[in-house]
C-alpha cells in the first residue's frame, strides 16, 4: 500500500488549528503546509499568532482543535520531547544555550542517547564534526559557547536541532539579532539544509527577507491565514497589504490644518543604538504642528517602539535633539517632559501605562501624585482623588464597579480608556499615541479615535504611531513612513494612498 504521491512530498501539514487564551482567539482555524526541501515563510505582525502556532508544533501548548500530519501520518504532539522525536527542531529567538559550556556539552544536555548519566563527549564531538561538515555549518564542537559570535551561536542551535534528528526546522525571527553579513550566512545555511531535504519554517515580519529565502509564504493576520501563496506569485507590496490588512478605508471629513499652523514638536536628527550597538533610529527627522495628527506608518520593528520611548524620555538618544514648543527637552526626565505638556499613550499599556495591581484611583494619579490638589505637603488627598477619579470614569465611560478595584480587573478597552482619561485630563499639548487601538474591539477603537480627534480640535499635536494602515489613513493629516529607523517620506493626507505607503513600507522610495 502506497500513500498518494502528493502526501509523500508534503512533510508537515497543520489543518484547522485553533488556540484560545480565555476569550482571545490566538489561532483561528489556521492551515499551513510544508513540502520536503522547502522553506515556508510565516509572515505576520506581532500578535498575529505566529509564535502561538509554532508553540503548538513544539508541543508547548495543545490546540483546542485541528489536525497535524507529519510525513502523511496524523500525529498528536504531546510534549516538547515528543515534538523532537517527531523530527521537529525549534530555534528560539532567544538562544537556549549555556554560555560556559562547550558546543558538544550544550548539545548533550537532556539527551540520554549521548550516554547516561555521563555523556560520551568524544563520540558526540566526532558526530558533530560530521554533521557540521555535511551541512556546511563550520562549528568547532570543543568551542565554549560564550566565545562565539551571535551568528555562530545561532548555528549551534541549528546544529543542536539537527543532531537530535530534526527534519523540520523552525526558526523564530532568526534575523532579528543578526548583522546583515550574518543574515546572509544564515540564508546560505537554510538553502543548504533544504537542498538536503529538510523543511524550514521561517518566521519573520521582514518582507525583503521573506521574499529572498522562502518558497511559499503563509500570511497570518489577527490569528487567521489571510494568504497562502508561492513566492513567485507575489511581491513585497502585496505582502505588506496582506499583512496589515486591506479593508476599504473610510476617510473622515475633518477640517484641514491651516498651513500657517505653527510647529509644536521638532525632532532633529535623532539617532539611537540598542544595547548591541546596532542603530535602531538613524538621524530621524520629524515635525508635528499644532492641531495636527501626524501618522507614522511602517512595518513592525522598524524603530517605532524606540521612537516613542525616546520622545517620552524613557530612552536617551545617542545624538540629536527634541524640541517641544521651541524648548530643548532632549535632556529632560520623563517627569519634566510631562510637566512640559507631553502625554504618552504607550503601545504596551499593561507594562508601561498602568500599574495593574493597584486601584483605578491610584492609576489616575500616577503622574500627578506629587502635585496639588492630588496631594499637599506630601500627603495624599483621598477626597480629591476619589472625586476626580469618579468624574473621569464618568466622562470616559469606563465600565467598572468602583474606583477601588484594580486596573487588572478591567477589560482591555477600559484599561485603554483609563490611560486616555489620565493623559488627557492633564491638558497636554503634545500626545504620543502608540498603537492606541491595539487589541480593542470596534466600539472601543471608535471611542479612542474620537478622543484623539477631540484633542486635535483643541489645537494639540498628536504623533500617531501605528502599524494599522486603516487607523493611519483615517486620522492623519500627514503620513510619514518609517523604515529601518528613518523617515523615508512624508505625504499629505490628500496625496497619500495605500499603494504608495505600502511600497514605502518595504523600503522602496523610487515611486
Amino acid at each position: 500500500m502506497h500513500p498518494p504521491l502528493s502526501s509523500q512530498k508534503v512533510n508537515l501539514q497543520m489543518q484547522g488549528i485553533t488556540v484560545r487564551y480565555g476569550s482571545f482567539i490566538a489561532n483561528d482555524g489556521v492551515n499551513i503546509s510544508v513540502d520536503h526541501g522547502q522553506t515556508l515563510a510565516l509572515l505576520g505582525e506581532n500578535g498575529a499568532g505566529k509564535t502561538t502556532l509554532m508553540k503548538v508544533l513544539a508541543g508547548i501548548i495543545k490546540p483546542e482543535s485541528g489536525r497535524i500530519q507529519i510525513n502523511g501520518k496524523e500525529v498528536q504532539i504531546l510534549s516538547p520531547i515528543h515534538s523532537q522525536q517527531l523530527g521537529i527542531g525549534m530555534v528560539h529567538q532567544h538562544f537556549m544555550l549555556i554560555p560556559t559550556l562547550s558546543v558538544a556539552k550544550n548539545v548533550c544536555i537532556g539527551l540520554k542517547s549521548a550516554g547516561y548519566p555521563f555523556p560520551n563527549i568524544l563520540k558526540v564531538e566526532n558526530e558533530l564534526i560530521k554533521i557540521s561538515e555535511k551541512y556546511n555549518l563550520q562549528i568547532d564542537p570543543k568551542a565554549i559557547v560564550s566565545t562565539l559570535s551571535v551568528g555562530t551561536q545561532q548555528r549551534v542551535e541549528i546544529l543542536k536541532a539537527l543532531y537530535r534528528g530534526a527534519k523540520i526546522l523552525i526558526l523564530d525571527e532568526p534575523t532579528s539579532i543578526l548583522t546583515p553579513q550574518e543574515t546572509h550566512g544564515l540564508f546560505g545555511i537554510i538553502k543548504f539544509l533544504t537542498g538536503q531535504g529538510c523543511s524550514v519554517i521561517f518566521i519573520s515580519h521582514k518582507l525583503n527577507e521573506v521574499m529572498e529565502i522562502s518558497d511559499r509564504i503563509t500570511v497570518l493576520r489577527q490569528g487567521k491565514v489571510t494568504a497562502e501563496i508561492s513566492k513567485d506569485e507575489t511581491n513585497e507590496k502585496d505582502l505588506a497589504i496582506l499583512m496589515v490588512g486591506h479593508e476599504f478605508t473610510k476617510k473622515r471629513t475633518i477640517k484641514p490644518v491651516p498651513p500657517e499652523a505653527s510647529e509644536l514638536v521638532k525632532i532633529d536628527r535623532i539617532t539611537y543604538f540598542d544595547e548591541r550597538k546596532l542603530p535602531v533610529l538613524r538621524e530621524l527627522d520629524l515635525t508635528v504642528k499644532k492641531g495636527e495628527i501626524h501618522g507614522i506608518a511602517g512595518v513592525d520593528g522598524n524603530g517605532q517602539v524606540e521612537l516613542a520611548k525616546v520622545l517620552a524620555g524613557i530612552l536617551r538618544p545617542d545624538s540629536g535633539r527634541i524640541f517641544i514648543d521651541g524648548n530643548d527637552v532632549t535632556k529632560l526626565s520623563p517627569g519634566k517632559r510631562i510637566t512640559a505638556g507631553l502625554a504618552h499613550i504607550p503601545g504596551d499599556r499593561q507594562r508601561l501605562g498602568l500599574v495593574m495591581d493597584v486601584s483605578l484611583g491610584e492609576n489616575f494619579i500616577l503622574e500627578t501624585s506629587g502635585k496639588e490638589p492630588v496631594s499637599k505637603h506630601g500627603i495624599l488627598n483621598f477626597n480629591n482623588i476619589r472625586n476626580t477619579s469618579k468624574q473621569l470614569i464618568k466622562d470616559y465611560d469606563i465600565r467598572c464597579i468602583s474606583v477601588d478595584q484594580t486596573a487588572a480587573t478591567l477589560s482591555g478597552g477600559n484599561q485603554q480608556k483609563l490611560v486616555l482619561a489620565r493623559e488627557f485630563s492633564r491638558m497636554p499639548k503634545f500626545i504620543i499615541a502608540m498603537q492606541p487601538s491595539r487589541g480593542l474591539d470596534v466600539g472601543a477603537t471608535e471611542f479612542v479615535h474620537e478622543k484623539l480627534l477631540e484633542q486635535r480640535e483643541n489645537g494639540n499635536g498628536i504623533l500617531l504611531i501605528s502599524t494599522e494602515l486603516d487607523e493611519i489613513f483615517e486620522l492623519s493629516d500627514r503620513i510619514s513612513v518609517i523604515y529601518e529607523g528613518k523617515i523615508l517620506a512624508t505625504l499629505s493626507r490628500e496625496v497619500a494612498n495605500r499603494e504608495r505607503i505600502g511600497l514605502l513600507m518595504t523600503g522602496k522610495t523610487d515611486v
Binding site: S333, V355, V358, L366, S369, I379, I401, S402
Partner: protein, 366 residues
Amino acid sequence: MFNKADNHNIELEFKKQRRAETLTAAGSSIGAVILALIIGAVIIRLLGVNPFDAYRALIDGAFGTKNSIAETLLRAVPLAITGIGITAAFRASIFNVGAEGQLYLGATSAVCVGLAFPTLHPAILLPLMAIAGMITGALWGGIAVLLKLKFNANEMINTIMMNYIAIYFVSWLVHGPIQQPGSPLGQTAGLSDNAILPIILKQTRLHIGFIITLLMVLLTGFLIYRTVWGYQIRVTGKNMFASQAAGIKVKWVFLSSMLFSGAMAGLAGFFEAAGIQHRMIENISSGYGYTAIVVALLGQLNPFGVLLAAILFGGLQIGASTMETAVGVPASAVTLIQYLIVILFIGRKAFSLIIQQMKKNRKVAA
C-alpha cells in the same frame, strides 16, 4: 449609566467582596501558623510528650506572668521595628536582606555616642544615640542600593555579603579599639545611666522602646498608605516601568526605601544596646535581622500585621525555654515551628491551587 440606588448596591457588594479578600489574605497567614502548630504537635508527640502540655507550657512561658509578657514584648521590639523597615523596602521591590548588619552597625554607633557624652541629659543624649544608630544603618543599607543603581548589582546578594562585613567589623571593634579596658570579653564599657532607656513597667526589663515601636508602626502605616512617598514606593514596587514612564523618580524611590529600612534596623540596634545590654556586645542580635524578614512577610507587608507577627514570634521564642524546662521538649522544636510557618506561608499559593484542582475534579466527576 446605572441609576443611583443600583450603583450604591453594586459598590456595597464590591466592598463586601474586598473585605472578604482582605480576610482571606490574613487567613493565609493565620492558617500557616495554625498548620505549623499542628505539625509541631505531631513532632512533640513523637518525642513522647503530650503536645497540649507542651503548648500550655509554651503559652504560659510567653504570656503567663507580667514578666513573661514583658519579655515577649521586649523580644518583639527589634523584630517589629526591623520588620516595618523591611516592609518599606520590599514594597519598593528592594530586597533588603542586610538588616542584621545594619542593626549591628547602628547599635555600635549609638553606643559610641553614648560613651562619648556620658554626662549629657538623657532627653538630649538618647535621641542623639537613636539618630546616630539610624543614620549608620541607613548609610550601610544605602550603599547596596547605590551599587544597584550604578552597576546593576543585585542588592539581595550584596546586603547578605555586607552583613558579614558589618558583623566582623563590629567584632573587631569590640575586641580592639572600643573594648572595655581590662576586660577579656568582646564588649565595650557599660553605658552611663543617662544613656540607658527608661523602664516603663516596674520589675521588668520592658523599656520605652516598646512605646516608640508602637508609634513607629503607626507612622509607617501612615507613610505607606497616606503619603506621596508611600504611594510612589507601592506603585514602583508593582511596576517600575510604568512608574518611571509616568515621571516618578524610581531611583530615589529605591534609595529612600532602603534608607528608611536601614534606619529602622539601626534603631532596633540602639534599642537592644541601650535598653537591654546597656553596652555594645559582640553578639548583640541573635539573627533578628533575618527573622524580621519572615515577620514582615507573615505580616503581609502591612505594618500592623508585622507588629502582630513580631509579637507571635517573640512569644514563641520566649515561651520555648519554659517549655523546655517544664516538659522537656527541646527549645529547638520552636525553631522548627518557626520555619514550618515560613515554609507553609510561602507555599500558601500551592494550597489554593490544590483547592482549585479539587473543585475542578469534582466538577468533572459531576
